[in-house]
Point group: C2
Chain length 286, copies 2
């Protein structure tokens, strides 16, 4: 497995592959790999001849009050894990190479997709994501890229941007990978103290509860939301960011849920750890 | 010479060239070719194995009160002229393919480069330019692209964007091509009635006057501006948009002019035709 830090070297490597007729599958990450990341890498390997994983904790998608400095990093472990699933290249650029002095260009996706859910509580987050992903796509020049469906709004934003800017990269969403107890895997789970693990299950259990209620005929988003809110707040130390029933494509709130409705959740645990989860609730597959 | 309308076909053609080891030189245009455009195409041909010229009157860079509908178009003539200078492909996409329904992503370069000069009187113009050029680069995938220095601010914005988004395209500026009487070539010159031609010369003559004054030791931007303003307004039917002495790289106004100072001019003729011109004034070459 090759480790590349230099941007030009990365692009040169990719051009060689393309000229040699090989396809490139790409998994952009912020490192601190868990089974969810490894699943994306495996899928990229099944779909493309070469797999590139970028490892870059992107400062521009963190807000001023967010956890940029504390974000978990463990390059040695990440390197081993990536090698174990057959990754060909880890691309790990330096922040000052990604954002040199004078850098002044932003890619934004319109408010329809970015104004609500995580976009409402994390202003500037999706501009940071769209900008860095378009940069990474231009440097790595993959044929396809695999993203986790846990970051459901991010996936929608990246699909939109990739199509709108004609980036020519096929975007593939990978289902959420969960711990045995149902907790959606996330690098931020590392922040959870043991006693908070139970509280963190409020998200996946709320999803399960919504599915049961929907199966029992309760399809009104408003009453479902009220029930889920009470349920999540019954766990100690939970603070709600949002509970939203939205259309999977437009991300706009729905009144009555159906098979295209996604329940999206964001909950803060003890004021410290912000977790998200999502899933179809009424007959859809996710 | 090939004419390509389809976006996928354009990208496929470019990939073939790249795999075959050929370089692609690109000239993005809005058509209605004059000698200035042809000079860009010739330069692209000198620098690259294949020349692609895009011909697309981009709606998103026109303001609501601007001349989108009236913008001169003559595809048959453009085709002949492009062929005469050895262009390999004209890429002429349809607006509905460039901006399909739901399209919602914008590329913006920060206010430092886009808030003044043409950006002040044409809000949204440079976001339209940056977005369409990044789209065109992604579709055509050139090795280099040639732009005219007449659109001096546009060139600075595109250089910035190309570097910031890691587009991997070498940006080449081509000196302004002028009519024998000094008028900078522009597709919008076609709007000028015969009597307005003399008035239109106010721009190039003001540039010449600034150079003479600078050579005589007048280096204060403010007093030069006052003199030029009087001079330009002495032509009948002129209305000033801006007279600005700016640093060639930062586009920020200067107090004392030097070899890196560009004089940028925008003048409206009889309330109908907006013309721009620019050049170094104190020892610089342009």
């Amino acid at each position: 497995m090759k480790i590349i830090q230099d941007l030009q070297e990365m692009t040169a490597w990719s051009k060689e592959q393309t000229v040699a007729g090989k396809t490139i599958g790409f998994v952009p990450t912020m490192g601190c790999f868990h089974e969810g990341h490894l699943a994306l890498m495996r899928q990229a390997g099944e779909l493309a001849g070469q797999v590139v994983v970028s490892l870059f904790v992107n400062p521009t998608q963190f807000g001023p009050q967010e956890d940029l400095a504390a974000y978990p990093r463990d390059f040695a472990r990440d390197q081993e894990l990536a090698a174990s699933v057959g990754v060909d290249v880890i691309f790990a650029p330096e922040p000052e190479d990604m954002y040199p002095a004078g850098c002044n260009t932003t890619v934004t996706v319109g408010k329809e997709l970015t104004g609500q859910l995580c976009g409402a509580s994390r202003p500037g987050h999706f501009a940071g994501v769209a900008t860095v992903v378009s940069k990474l796509f231009n440097i790595v020049r993959p044929d396809l890229a695999v993203f986790g469906e846990k970051d459901f709004q991010q996936l929608a934003v990246i699909r939109r941007m990739t199509e709108d800017l004609n980036l020519g990269v096929e975007i593939i969403g990978h289902p959420i990978i969960r711990e045995q107890d149902g907790l959606a895997m996330s690098s931020r789970n590392a922040y959870l103290q043991e006693a908070e693990r139970e509280t963190a299950l409020s998200l996946s259990r709320a999803l399960a509860m919504a599915r049961t209620m929907a199966a029992d005929g309760e399809l009104h988003a408003e009453s479902l939301t009220a029930t889920l809110q009470k349920f999540i707040l019954s766990f100690s130390g939970t603070e709600l960011d949002y509970i939203s029933f939205v259309d999977q494509a437009s991300l706009q709130p729905v009144v009555e849920i159906d098979k295209d409705t996604v329940l999206a959740l964001a909950v803060k645990i003890n004021g410290r750890v912000r977790l998200i989860d999502n899933g179809f609730v009424a007959g859809g597959e996710k």
